[in-house]
Structure formats: C-alpha cells, structure tokens
C-alpha cells in the first residue's frame, strides 16, 4: 500500500508467513506503521502450502484471504518481498536494518495478465509445490499470491526466454535490468517471525528418504492432496503414479530424537491424523492409513479429533518407533520395527510412506543480525538480552497455526510497548 517513511516508531516484521502477517496486521490495526519483509516473492508462508487445517478441515487460504484483505486496505503496512534482513544496528527503540532486495524483474505495472508466462518456454522447479512439479520461469507464485505480480526466475535472465517475456508484456512491466538493491529501514522494534523448515528427512538415513521415491514428507503429502497441487489432488505415488491407497504415517521423523531434533514438534501428530482424512477422501472404498507413533499428542481440545480418527476403521495405530524402511521389488516401501504393545515384530509393505517430519526453526543456523538468545533447538527465547527484537510464531517454539498466531499477536504488543515509549519520549 502507500509507502510510509520508516522511523524509530516503525515496527519491522521479518517474515511474511502467518505469524509475520499477523504481527504486522495486528500492530498496524492498532495504529502503528509496519514494514513487513518477506524473502519469497509472495506472502503466506508455509500455511499457504497446506491443503487443509486440523481440526476443522478448513482451508488455510480462507484465512489468508482475510489477512490479505486486511493488508490491502491498510496503508500502514509496507510490504517488501524477495527481501532479506542482513543486518540490524542500533539499540532498542532505534534500530536500522539493512535489507537486501533481490530483483523480481517485474515492476508494479504488472497486471497479472499472464502473457509473459505464456511466452516463455523454460520450466523450473516449483518451490510452492516442494518441487514436486514445475512451473514456467515467468510465474505467479500461486493463485493467491500477494503482491499479485509475476516473477521471472533468475535462470532465464540473459536468455532468449527473458526477451520473449519482455516482448509479450504490453505494459512495460518487465525490467530485465533490475538489480539487487540494499536498503536501510529504521525501526523502534523488530519482530522476528521467520517460521520453520521441515527437518531434512534425508538425515534420517534408515528411512530412505531420497533413496526411495515412495517415501515422502508430510509437507509434500499436503501438496499431493491439494486439488490445486501437482497431481490435482489425487494421491498418487511418485515412483510410478500408481494410486497410493495403503499409506503409512511415521511419527517423530526427526523429532524427539537426540540424534536429530530433541524437541517434540507438536503439530505432527495432528497433521498425520488430518492426513488420514485425505486418504479416505481419495479412496473411500479401500483407502488405508497406518500411523506408527510413540505417543499421540492430540493436545487439549484436539482430543475429539483424535478419537474420531481412532473410530475410523480405515486407520490403524501401531505404537512403535519405526526402525528402518526398505523397498521391495515392486517399489513398495516396507516398514520395519517392533510394535511395543505386545512386542511383535513387523515388516509391512505400504504403497506410500509419509514421514511426519519435525519442525526446525528457520532461524537456526541463520546469521541473525545482532545477538539473539536461542535455546538448544534454535528457537528464540524471550530474554531481555534480545533488546527490542521479539520472536514470534515458530521462530520461538514448535507451534501449530493457532498458537503461532497467538504468539505473533503477543509479539505485536511487545513491539508496541517499545515504540509507544519512543513516541512518548519524543512527544
């Protein structure tokens, strides 16, 4: 929206997923100026890549639409996409952030008409679909993308495809000379809401992710289930496109494990319970889900949801930490382990294995500008040493969406406390 000048009464929000958007909007709707910085070309983050939410089985883009409408009608939020904060100097109440903005090669003239995408030939991996599909190298990141503006993949810059895109655009929206920029943003307080990344499943060597095509992660499974995903919502296994009717869900893939993530990622039990619905929806007659778990953590009101899945005859629960996965001659992943209820060994073939991968804070290992106190898992702790840099959402803890939004709303108040103090001092 309208660009306001950032001052030391501005709140800088880093990360444009649901936590960052929430923090930005809640602060702006309380009358504060906000600069929202997102590294991807569109807002929405990981929740926009989910097909449905537990426990209502509603669609995350429904809430995204509301948040985008709030954003479109609020001149107090200035959004920077393809932007990353590379440094923060100063003190609480008076920071200057350095923001690197990568070229989009498409300016504000873009009407999202799609002519450029029709003109180019090169297709590149589509990160929105966790690279399970491809999209054109001139693309709109997704149907709900905000800003609603196309992007050119850097891979086509300097190739004839780029010239084709430029020639196709009637509105002078394509600027192939766009360069990376570095800008300074002043802020009184910073909300760090960079979210999470799925734990790298390949590190769990015995599970064969990356070696066996039919072992996928829970976030990839969301894209397979999504009617607008790469398979049009059909649950087909990657190796041969066969219908995956017998699906195994492996809990704590990386979580609760001293060799991987020490913490429990909280959301994965509910996510797998939810995903059993996708199997049943796809194959109402003969879909089968098996959940291999240590404890089912359907915490608080979610218990009802768990009980309903428990009552579903198509879902089997096996209390077991899966030892390893192999592949049989038909490409079926075979799950090996011991059912601790009765100590029975099993080696069970499935059509598809979904690893309920844990949540790792994106901020972990990131060169966070300034000094931020984090716990041993990499989550930002609330600590006075952080000054006026406040964590929000999954940057602070393993949270589900509801709790992440709560956390982001709280972070907005903490930031407002700082900028109100600045305003008072200057009044």
């Amino acid at each position: 929206m309208t660009e306001h000048v950032a001052t030391n009464e501005t709140i800088l929000v880093v990360g444009g997923g649901i936590s960052g958007m929430t923090a930005a909007l809640e602060a702006a709707e309380t009358g504060k100026n906000v600069v929202l910085v997102e590294k991807n070309p569109a807002l929405g983050g990981r929740t926009s890549q989910l097909y449905r939410y537990f426990p209502k089985m509603c669609h995350p883009v429904c809430g995204l639409e509301i948040n985008l409408r709030r954003l479109k009608s609020n001149p107090r939020v200035r959004v920077l996409t393809l932007a990353e904060v590379t440094g923060i100097d100063g003190v609480a109440g008076d920071y200057t952030a350095t923001v690197k903005v990568s070229p989009r090669y498409v300016n504000a003239n873009c009407t999202a008409c799609g002519d450029c995408a029709r003109a180019v030939e090169l297709e590149v991996d589509d990160p929105f679909n966790y690279n399970l599909g491809k999209h054109k190298a001139a693309y709109l990141p997704n149907a709900m993308a905000y800003p609603q503006r196309y992007v050119l993949d850097p891979a086509i810059i300097g190739t004839p495809d780029a010239d084709k895109a430029k020639a196709a655009c009637k509105y002078g929206a394509i600027d192939l000379d766009m360069q990376e920029e570095t800008i300074q943003v002043r802020a009184g307080a910073v909300i760090w809401a960079t979210g999470w990344k799925p734990y790298d499943a390949a590190k769990i060597q015995p599970y064969g992710y990356g070696r066996f095509k039919n072992v996928i992660t829970s976030v990839e499974f969301e894209r397979l289930a999504d009617v607008h995903g790469p398979t049009g919502g059909k649950i087909l296994r990657p190796s041969d496109g066969k219908e995956a009717k017998n699906v195994a869900f492996i809990q704590c893939a990386g979580s609760r494990d001293e060799n991987h993530l020490r913490h429990c990622s909280r959301f994965c039990c509910m996510a797998s319970l939810k995903q059993t619905h996708y199997v049943r929806e796809n194959y109402p007659q003969d879909g089968k889900s098996t959940i291999y778990y240590i404890d089912i953590r359907a915490i608080d009101r979610f218990e009802d949801f768990y009980q309903k899945v428990r009552d579903d005859a198509s879902v089997t629960f096996i209390k077991s930490k899966v030892a390893r996965i192999s592949e049989d001659k038909d490409g079926n992943p075979v799950v090996w382990g011991v059912n601790t209820e009765g100590y029975k060994r099993y080696s069970t073939p499935h059509d598809l294995v979904v690893l309920a991968v844990g949540m790792e804070p994106s901020v972990k290992g990131m060169d966070i500008p300034g000094h931020i106190v984090a716990d041993s898992s990499g989550f930002i702790e609330a600590d006075p040493a952080n000054g006026a840099v406040f964590g929000a959402g999954c940057a602070t803890n393993a949270l589900d969406v509801n709790r992440a939004v709560q956390s982001a709303t709280a972070a907005a108040l903490r930031a407002i406390q700082v900028v109100n103090k600045v305003a008072k001092a200057e009044a």
Binding site: T30, D226, E303, Q406, T409, L413
Partner: protein, 753 residues
C-alpha cells in the same frame, strides 16, 4: 445528501480492449448507467490511468467512481480511493477470463460485460462513502477480570504499552492457581528441573504499578455499553459499587480443577493419601517450608512411593467426565515426580499414562525425569484401592497387554484431573439463538454442558450476560487463523477459560489478548470495525420509523451488538457491530442499511441487469457470492481460465447472512431464471467468519420455498450452495450444471413483465 457526481472508467488493458467492444461499454455507462462522465483508458491501473481518476476527483468534483476493469481483489493499491464511493465491474476475472475467445461466444460475453457495467453504475449510485460510526467512545482503560497469572500478565503488559488497567479479582489475593504452585515447569534452557513460579514477582509488579487499579474481593455487577464506552459496576465485598469507565475488557477467569470426588474408583475421597495435582502442590509447599520431605497426609510419614495417574477424568469417551485433554498435566506430573526425585532419588515415582504429551522443549523435561529415575508406564488405571496408609493401583498395562497389572503399597496417589473453565453463564444453553418467529420448533439439542448459574460479566446485552461459549464451556474461538475472535466485540478471553493451557501459554495468551483489547478500544474511538472487516468505516443505520419491532435483528446478530429499548425498538451499538450485515438480511421491512452496502446497492444491481425475453435463449442466473470465499474462488477460476456460463451475473455479498429475501424475490419477479447463493460451510464445523452468518442466511432461505410457491415457481429456481475458497474447479462446474438444469426447466414465466 450531499451532491454526488459519478464517473465511470473503463479499462481496455489485459485483453479487455480486444475481447470486448469497449466503445459500446462506454455508451452503456452513459445511456443505461446514466453516468455523466465516462472515460476509457488503455491501461487504467498504471500511473497515468490512476492520475486521470485522481484528477477528476480533484478538479471535476467526482465523488463516486465506477471502475470497469479487473476484480475488486486485484490492483487494490492502484484503485485506492478511501474518500470516495467505489464500485468495481469485474470485466477481467469475471468475464473475459471465464469465456472462450471465440466468435460465437463474443455476443454473450459482451452482454455479460455490459450488464456488469450497468450493475456497477447502479451500485455506486446507491452508495455513499462511509464516514465512520459517530457513536464512539474514547475510553482507553482496560478492564481485566481475574487476578491470576493470565489476568496479571495482561494487566502488566497493557500498562507497559501505556494503557491504564482496572483489575478485578473475586478472591482476597492476587495470584490464582499460580500462587498455589510450589514450582513451575521450566521455560528456559536447560529444561531439566522445576523452576520458580515467578508469581510473587508478578503480584508485586501489579501492586507496584500506579497505572493498574486493583479491586480484591470484587465481582462485576454490571457491564453495559460498547468498546470505547463500556460502563462497568464493580461490586466489592463491603457492598459498595464502584463505577468504572472502560474501553475494552479482557476476561481471564481461569479454571477450576475437575472435581476429583467424581472419581471414587480412583480412590478420591476414600483416603487423604489420594490427592489431585493441586493437593500435591500444597504438600510440596508444606514440605519446603519444613524439612523438604513430602509426607503422607494420613500419618505424616515420608512418602517413599508415589503413583501419578494421568488423564484422571479426562479424555473420557464414555461421556461421564471431561472428553478433552487439558494439555498441561503430563508436564505437571513430570514436574511433581521431580519434587520427590530431586529431594530423595530413592522415592519410587511411577507415572501411568496412555500418551505422554510434552510438546516442544517439554521433551527435554520428560527426558530429564527419565534420567532422574522416574518410571513411565503406558497404561490405563482402572482402580485405586486405598487401605490403611497405602493404596493399590490397578491398571491395564498397555505394553504387556496385562489387564490386571498392579502397583501395591503406594504411599501417595496423585490424580491428574484437568481444567474446567470458569466461563460464566452458558447463554446458548439458556436460549439457543433462533430465527425469531419460530415458536413451536424443538430447540436443537444442547451440548452436555453444565449451566453455571453465576454470570461473570453481567452484560446488559439483549443476548445474555456472558460471552458465548464454543464447546465444553470454553469461550474459545473456532478459527484457526484468528484465535482471539470472541463473539462479543471488545471483550476478549485469555488463559484457561479460553482453552486448556499451562502457565507459559497463559502468559503468551494474555499478552496477545491484551493487544486485541487495546486494538479494539483504539478502533472503537475511530469509529472503525474490528475483525474480520477491520478498519471498515461503514456501520448499520436504521430507519426506526419503518421498524415493526419484530426483533429479528436483535435475536440474530451473531455478535450481540443490538439491544432493545423499552418499546422493543432495536438499539444499535455500532462499536459492537462487525459489519456482517446479518441484521440487514434479517430485516423484513428493510430499514437497516450500510452506507456502501444495502438492500439498495444490491437491489439496484439486480434491477440493472438486462433481462432478455423468453425467446432469446439467454437465461439469466443471479449469483450472490460470499466475498471472502466464493468470490475469490470465482476469481481464481478466472485466473485459471476455467470457463463458466455467460448467463450468470455475480454480486459479491458480505456474508450469506446479509442476504435479504427481497433480493431473491425481486430477481425472480424481474424474470431471472434462477438464483444461486454461495456461502461458507455452516453447522458445527462452520467456516463463516461471522460465525453464524451463513447458518442464519440458510435458515432464512429455507423458507424461500413458500415464496416460490406463491409465485408459482419451481423450487429449483433457488439454489443454496456451500462453497469453499478452494473450489476453483468445482464452482464453474456447479454453475454450468445449474445453467443446464435451468434450460431443462424452461424460462421463467416472469420475463417481460
């Protein structure tokens, strides 16, 4: 009304110029739309196009703008004219992108575009730019009800942001349950041992803050008004009443521990050596004050063995006890087991659980307990049999599948019983909101929730004295993305009254809720709406002289915004209103309207559509589409070029609840062949962002059959559809199928009248 000057702008970009006869559209706007100033532009959303519009506003006195270009969801930065009334005719996503680019389609596509121009012109003329609710209040004080950890945190955090707080606590001291804890679950690295509660510090922060006024031994006798101008009577023990002017309210009334006496099979009430978790905290605090040894209540002997029974009276599938999990009890038992182990590693501590639930870094805490020698046994306790100074615990060992597993000679048994919210009166169990005039219908079966007789807020609201509950007594929100949305504007709930939670989460929750409360009072002062139409300056206006006191609006308002005066006329509390328009939809005499959304703005569009005669083979279908879900789905269908019938005319609506039946009857009378209503899912898993809007709309429309009969029309002429925002493929299919069905039924007999 001030003079209005309407201008219409028609874009030729994005293929509109090639696919449509834009000169004809200009003529339609002039002739049918009767707009004096009509311009077309090659690229309306670019700087030059926008400057042209701005120039007309500045120099030509244009007040009302009709933009015939892309969807109202697109190019919002360019077409941002908050001072003006604006209507957008969706010619791109709504016309050329959903029609094939063929010669034979050209005529019907042009018809569609021309109708949208007519509709846009008619709509904008019926609008005025909203000026904000004038009935505001500017009180900035936050009322916090409840002086436990949640309430105190909210008070301190609001005060830090510069807002005065009135904190009301019913007992004689601050602290709540938190003050009764010996230690808390750790919230910082290394997550290995119980930590100090910090409650005493919090109490002194509250007491030492001159910005926070504390009432102890006090309750809320009366709450009236609206955000920004609540007037609250605080009753104190002495019988005195203090009146406070309040901007917004935060209810942090916490929980009551589930009564363990309902669990005699677990030994509760049969021996002092069977306690709940609060009982154990008391024993631990008592011990700490002496020699640090936790003693058996029956005879004061040191405890040498203790069993923790998880999910006592919780996660119950029989319907007798709590069906939910309270979330905090696993970590609490881990902590309490450590009370013993840290003092004396030889004390036997066993936790019997079905699923151990220690999310996040609780896992480290759990691991630490295992390292300290706490035994965790997966099982379900069936019986605790006290005898003398010890008890026998019988359980189903789920690992060995031993239904008769036993732990004998246990000194102390701790039952993890869970949280019951202190949420006040369940106003919906008292009176299920029904559409007025439905006497005789059996009320829907209420949930098995105890009706608590004592109100907490004593709201003077027409719809009852407390915040509506969601489920099992919790005053939670149903929304994943918007956890704080209660159904009473400017009143937020936080802590275990909202949802079961531990202290760390309660503190976070309190901080977030405090922000929402502050935001509500700030926006109330500016006359703006709260979520989900945050910032909306329109508000419901009522022509009382036409009102028949039927009470539909006061009963149906999903947010309890409308009261009744002594003559049973509605009293609109605009700052409590969320602008969904349910009242407008409900009103049989159509006296309720918003400046930019009214029976007229939609009605005028319906009337503006050109209805070809019955021989033209061009049926007309009206679609009323929820602007949050169905309309975006239709837009995205356009972006994907999913084609649908050229015979539909789509009008976005705020909510299905805002649909007034007059729109449907007017459309049918005017010769439309069918009406499709597209709203969000209603019922238990509702997805309506106005909570009850789509449900109330559907109840209202279920009566449309009578109207159809009166008109001698087939019931198929009106279709109520549940549409989700992701129905990008499905919606065009539904439209096309319906269009075919209508062809089979034949044209409406009302054409040409």
């Amino acid at each position: 009304m001030a003079d209005i000057k309407v201008a219409a702008y028609i874009c030729k970009g994005c293929g509109l110029g090639e696919r449509l006869d834009t000169d004809a559209l200009v003529k339609v706007a002039q002739k049918d739309g009767k707009v004096p100033l009509v311009k077309s532009h090659d690229f309306l959303c670019n700087a030059d196009g926008v400057a042209m519009i701005r120039n007309d506003v500045a120099n030509e006195g244009v007040t009302h703008i009709m933009i015939g270009a892309c969807s109202r969801r697109a190019k919002t930065e360019a077409f941002f004219f908050p001072e003006n009334a604006v209507a957008r005719a969706n010619l791109r996503e709504g016309v050329i992108w959903i029609r094939p680019d063929t010669e034979e389609a050209r005529e019907t596509t042009q018809d569609m575009a021309e109708d949208y121009i007519r509709m846009g012109c008619a709509e904008v003329k019926a609008m005025t730019a909203p000026g904000g609710n004038p009935n505001t209040g500017s009180n900035k004080t936050l009322l916090v009800v409840g002086g436990g950890v949640t309430g105190m945190t909210a008070a301190v955090e609001a005060s830090k942001a510069g807002y005065p707080v009135v904190l009301v606590e019913k007992s004689s001291a601050l602290g709540g349950w938190g003050a009764r804890l010996f230690k808390r679950i750790p919230i910082h690295e290394p997550f290995k041992s119980p930590a100090d509660t910090g409650v005493a510090d919090l109490v002194s922060q509250v007491m030492g803050d001159s910005n926070i006024k504390v009432y102890l031994n006090a309750t809320i006798a009366k709450t009236e008004g609206a955000p920004g101008r609540f007037v609250v009577d605080v009753a104190t023990e002495s019988g005195a009443t203090h009146t406070e002017d309040i901007g917004a309210i935060l209810q942090a009334t916490g929980f009551t521990l589930y009564d363990m006496n309902k669990l005699p099979e677990l030994g509760a009430g049969k021996s002092p050596n069977v306690v709940d978790q609060a009982g154990l905290e008391a024993l631990a605090s008592e011990a700490a004050a002496k020699d640090g040894v936790i003693r058996r209540p029956s005879d004061g002997q040191p405890v040498t063995s203790v069993v923790f029974v998880q999910c006592a009276g919780q996660r119950d599938t029989t319907g007798t006890h709590l069906s939910y999990c309270s979330g905090y009890c696993c970590n609490t038992s881990v902590k309490q087991a450590m009370y013993f182990k840290d003092a004396n590693p030889s004390v036997e501590t066993v936790v019997v659980y079905t699923d151990l639930r220690t999310p996040g870094n609780g896992e480290d805490f759990y691991r630490s307990a295992q390292e300290k020698g706490v035994i965790f046994t997966k099982g379900k306790v069936s019986q605790v049999l006290p005898s003398g100074n010890t008890s026998t615990v019988k359980f189903h060992d789920l690992i060995l599948d031993d239904t008769d597993a036993t732990i004998a000679d246990v000194d102390l048994v701790v039952l993890a019983t869970g949280q019951v919210p202190n949420s006040g009166v369940n106003i919906e169990a008292l009176a299920k909101p029904q559409v007025a005039g439905e006497e005789g219908e059996a009320p829907a079966e209420g949930e098995a929730v105890e009706v608590k007789p004592i109100s907490i807020l004593n709201l003077t609201y027409r719809q009852g004295p407390d915040v509506p509950q969601l489920t099992q007594g919790f005053t939670d929100s149903h929304f994943i993305c918007f956890p704080y949305e209660t159904r009473r504007t400017g009143i937020y709930t936080a802590g275990p009254v909202r949802r079961p939670m531990d202290m760390a989460q309660a503190r976070e929750d309190a901080t977030g809720a405090a922000l929402k409360a502050i935001q509500a009072l700030e926006n109330a002062e500016l006359g703006r709406a709260a979520h989900p139409r945050s910032g909306d300056l329109s508000f419901p206006k009522v022509r009382l002289e036409g009102c028949t006191q039927c009470k539909r609006c006061t009963v149906e308002c999903p947010f309890g915004a409308i009261d009744e005066d002594e003559k049973r006329f509605p009293v609109f509390n605009e700052s409590r209103c969320r602008r969904c328009g349910t009242c407008m939809g409900a009103c049989p005499v159509r006296v309720i309207s918003f400046e930019n959304y009214s029976v007229n703005t939609v009605g005028a569009q319906i009337k503006a559509v050109d209805i070809p005669d019955e021989f033209s083979e061009k049926p007309r279908i009206l679609i009323l589409a929820c602007e949050n879900d169905a309309y975006p789905a239709l837009d995205m269908a356009g972006m994907n070029h999913n084609e649908y019938s050229a015979f539909v005319r789509i009008i976005p609506i705020r909510c299905l609840g805002s649909v007034n039946t007059i729109w449907v009857t007017d459309a049918l009378n005017a010769g439309y062949d069918g009406v499709m209503m597209m709203g969000c899912k209603s019922g238990e898993q509702y997805q309506c962002h106005f909570v009850k809007g789509s449900e109330l709309g559907r109840v209202r429309m279920s009566k449309i059959d009578d109207t159809l009969k009166t008109l001698n029309l087939e019931s198929e002429r009106v279709r109520d559809l549940e549409v989700a925002i992701t129905d990008i493929k499905r919606v065009p299919e539904m439209i096309n199928k319906y269009a075919e069905e209508l062809v089979a039924i034949g044209p409406s007999p009302f054409k040409g009248f």
